[in-house]
């Protein structure tokens, strides 16, 4: 049996040479990790999640009820671009703006926009800034229906002492009413290419020198605008800004060329900021804030400090346990575990993996899991060694026999990490990713690295006597 694994001196030399090369390369990787972690403005720094770096996490829900299903994806992309541009204006480093859908298991289908603002903890200001992005809509007016509503509105207004303008009541409730006087035209701010502040020349029913905002549509928008104005000449086209009607001019003739004017009793300042906001982009669909999360950076700093300490102590305690119980193979496992930490850190930097508080805890946890495969192999090795096999043959057997259990155990862990990744919010995804990568790398470190090092040790037998049986033995027994 043992003869199967007897090596010539040359083979042993080659094996040891490669073990040394592996060690040197991984120490080099360790140096890379150390450099990137400690120097400022490094090429590959650790990427910290919001709960560690501090910042805000906002979730908006987009109301796509009035949009054709096949257009939703495009519109959500437009929405993302608009918000992204808006955020870039107030200078956040590395903001994340993502489109998300509610998962297939939930009853309500929702389209969401997730905004992450690292370093921004004044969320009220951030929300206000994002909220400034105007929602511009053009709607046709059904005069008959409007008249009906106006009378009801007037009745309402006369019964209450408040003086409410009928237009604003109608505008805010228009979405919910069955026969709304306002008919969606599909023409919205998404078709806008530019907006500018101008002063009216005094014709077309406008006051002279009244501040107005002139807008230019893109080709698609221009065509739509032309069609609407051609088909509905002599009707009125209302312009809605953020759900409120600001003007309802008559369509006198088909408008070709895609230019329009918004007027509505603006002050010059109002008109200027409206033009600016429209230039940053008008929202294609209305959005509402459904979830907010703000974390102060001080909280994160202490989490990092403590997690690093826990990681270092964890590595030490586990190594001591492995060396105490498994002796020589235990030393090898400790080296492999240290290399496991290095490889993982390098991967976290290179992918990069967003580290969170839970993710860091997961990483420390994975240290304990990573040596599991070592335990399985070494226990088997011990059995074989005790039965009289040489240490090298015993190691070969150990790796071979322990493989099926290691495989099955890791596959189930990996599958649950994948489910976790699907289940989680962005902070939990970090944990799942750390766990998943840890499982894969632990297979590499526990099976490949440990094997390379273990097999380059001298081949000894239990019958050789001396210190060797002790060094390859385990536990409390001699």
């Amino acid at each position: 049996m043992t003869d199967l694994y007897t090596e010539t001196k040359q083979e042993t030399f080659i094996r040891r040479f490669w073990a040394l090369v592996t060690l040197v390369v991984l120490i080099g990787v360790g140096w890379f990790v150390y450099q990137n972690a400690t120097t400022e403005n490094a090429h590959f720094p650790f990427k910290l999640g919001l709960d560690l770096a501090g910042g805000s996490h906002l979730v908006y829900e987009a109301d796509v009820s009035k949009v054709a299903p096949n257009e939703i994806a495009d519109l959500m992309d437009v929405l993302r671009d608009v918000i992204e541009r808006r955020i870039n204006v107030f200078g956040v480093s590395e903001p994340i703006v993502q489109v998300e859908e509610s998962s297939f298991v939930s009853e309500v289908k929702q389209h969401r926009l997730v905004v992450e603002l690292p370093g921004v903890t004044d969320v009220a200001a951030a929300v206000a800034e994002i909220g400034k992005t105007p929602l511009l809509e053009f709607k046709l007016i059904d005069d008959e229906a409007l008249l009906k509503q106006e009378t009801t509105a007037n009745r309402l207004a006369s019964t209450s002492t408040n003086e409410v303008s009928s237009a604003s009541i109608v505008a805010t409730t228009s979405g919910k009413l069955a026969n709304s006087p306002f008919i969606d035209t599909g023409l919205t701010g998404r078709y806008l290419t530019s907006a500018a502040l101008e002063f009216a020349g005094g014709n077309g029913g406008q006051l002279a020198n009244e501040p107005i905002v002139s807008i230019v549509f893109n080709t698609e928008g221009a065509e739509l605008f032309e069609r609407i104005t051609r088909e509905h000449t002599s009707e009125r086209l209302a312009i809605f800004l953020d759900g409120e009607m600001i003007s309802a001019p008559n369509i006198n003739e088909p408008i070709i060329g895609g230019k329009a004017v918004i007027s509505g009793g603006f002050t010059p300042e109002e008109a200027r900021s409206l033009a600016q906001n429209l230039n940053f982009g008008a929202l294609p669909v209305p959005i509402t804030l459904v979830s907010t999360q703000t974390i102060d950076a001080t909280l994160g700093a202490s989490v990092i400090e403590k997690s690093v300490l826990a990681g270092a102590v964890g590595l030490l305690v586990i190594s001591l346990f492995m060396i105490g119980w498994y002796r020589v193979p235990g030393i090898i496992a400790s080296i492999a575990l240290t290399l496991y930490v290095i490889i993982n850190c390098a991967i976290f930097m290179l992918i990069p993996v967003t580290l969170t508080a839970a993710g860091l805890a997961g990483f420390v946890l994975s240290l304990g899991m990573a040596v599991d495969a070592n335990v399985l192999v070494f226990e088997r090795l011990k059995e074989e060694f005790r039965s009289g096999k040489g240490s090298r043959a015993a190691a070969h057997e150990g790796f071979k026999r322990a493989w099926s259990a290691i495989r099955d155990g890791n596959v189930t862990s990996l599958l649950s990490a994948i489910v976790l990744f699907w289940f989680g919010t962005s902070l939990i995804k970090g944990f799942a990713l750390v766990l998943g990568i840890g499982i894969i790398i632990s297979m590499v470190s526990a099976l490949m690295l440990t094997r390379v090092f273990l097999l380059s040790l001298p081949d000894v037998k239990k019958s050789d006597g001396g210190i060797w049986p002790f060094l390859f033995g385990t536990g409390l027994k001699k």
Partner: protein, 328 residues
């Protein structure tokens, strides 16, 4: 062999644990956090902390329903954790202003607000995720143990693994109910994460033992080949196996041979978790505690429940449907 010989004792112990845990969950019940119900959580830290009553009376006139106020005291933060219903942006500003005006140097260090729809969705997802993991494990184990055949089908190994996982999940859930009742700990997304991690991990120990059982079964069996000539003259060989040793003895040996590794693999993970619990951040304290309970329960169940259950099932099956003697 000790465990298999005393299997009735251990299985009754397991039943006792499951019943106790269920009663604890039933009596104290889990406290749902805002992650699942929707609502707002504000954490405020002071250099000089005001009395809880002061905070309560400051919040009372704001019309927030009944806010839940918990003391949060770690070495970096010293203040309160306040849970209220989902707040609008304006309400939030008023609440924060009211809180920071109390005590000395009050700063809001964490604010989370979750809409009810998102909360409900997460709850659905949590149930689905746990279900999916269990299903995947049944299928995977059944697949990995395919060909074990006699005397128990590989699907039984799968269902057995999952039955044991039920225990592994129930115990930390009971622990969480107690934590919720006595310390105000709330079920949040991290708790579900801990449960899913326990599911993925606990199955390892059970698999290690089942793997050894599989190996023992293959080592200790004899093959009987019978040639069957089917219609049309096609020859087919049917292989049947008979165990040369009793099933319970083989399982017993598998358990005792793998005992050290079952304990050691869980021990290394427990070491890492204990270090995390004592040295790690307060943010993940409950999370780590749940994991510790879960890993402990998982180690116990794979040694003391999984294998005895396997033997009991095999004996029950044999009684119900006597194994036909091999054809000569």
């Amino acid at each position: 062999m000790f465990i298999i010989r005393n299997r009735t004792l251990f299985l009754w112990l397991a039943v006792a644990i499951v019943v106790t845990a269920s009663v604890i969950v039933g009596v104290f019940s889990l406290k749902s956090g805002i992650d699942f119900t929707g609502g707002s959580l504000i954490e405020i830290s002071y250099t000089s902390v005001p009395e809880k009553a002061v905070v309560e009376s400051a919040l009372a006139p704001l019309g927030l329903g009944t806010p839940r106020i918990r003391r949060s005291d770690t070495n970096t933060t010293n203040g309160y954790l306040i849970t209220v219903r989902d707040l609008s942006l304006e309400e939030r500003t008023t609440v924060e202003a009211a809180l920071t005006s109390l005590g000395e140097a009050g700063t809001i260090i964490r604010y989370t607000s979750i809409g009810p729809v998102i909360g409900a969705e997460l709850r659905d997802k949590a149930v689905w995720a746990i279900g999916a993991v269990l299903l995947i494990i049944i299928i995977y184990v059944a697949f990995a143990f395919k060909g074990v055949g006699k005397p128990i089908s590989s699907w039984v190994y799968g269902f057995m693994t999952v039955a044991v996982l039920g225990h592994d999940i129930l115990v930390p859930v009971a622990a969480m109910s107690l934590l919720g009742y006595f310390m105000g700990a709330e079920v949040d997304i991290l708790f579900i994460t801990a449960l899913l991690t326990i599911l993925g991990y606990s199955v390892n120990d059970t698999i290690v033992i089942f793997d050894r059982v599989r190996e023992k079964l293959i080592q200790n069996r004899t093959e009987h080949k019978t040639k069957i000539i089917e219609l049309g003259g096609i020859e087919r060989t049917e292989v049947e196996y008979t165990l040369t040793k009793p099933f319970d003895e083989l399982v017993g040996r598998a358990v005792s041979e793998t005992m050290t590794r079952s304990i050691n693999t869980s021990l290394t993970v427990l070491l890492a978790l204990l270090v995390l619990y004592f040295l790690g951040s307060a943010v993940t304290e409950t999370f780590v505690l749940v994991l510790i309970v879960g890993v402990f329960a998982g180690a116990f169940s794979s040694i003391f429940i999984a294998s005895p259950l396997l033997v009991v099932y095999a004996l029950w099956q044999a009684k119900r449907q006597p194994i036909t003697p091999p054809r000569k």
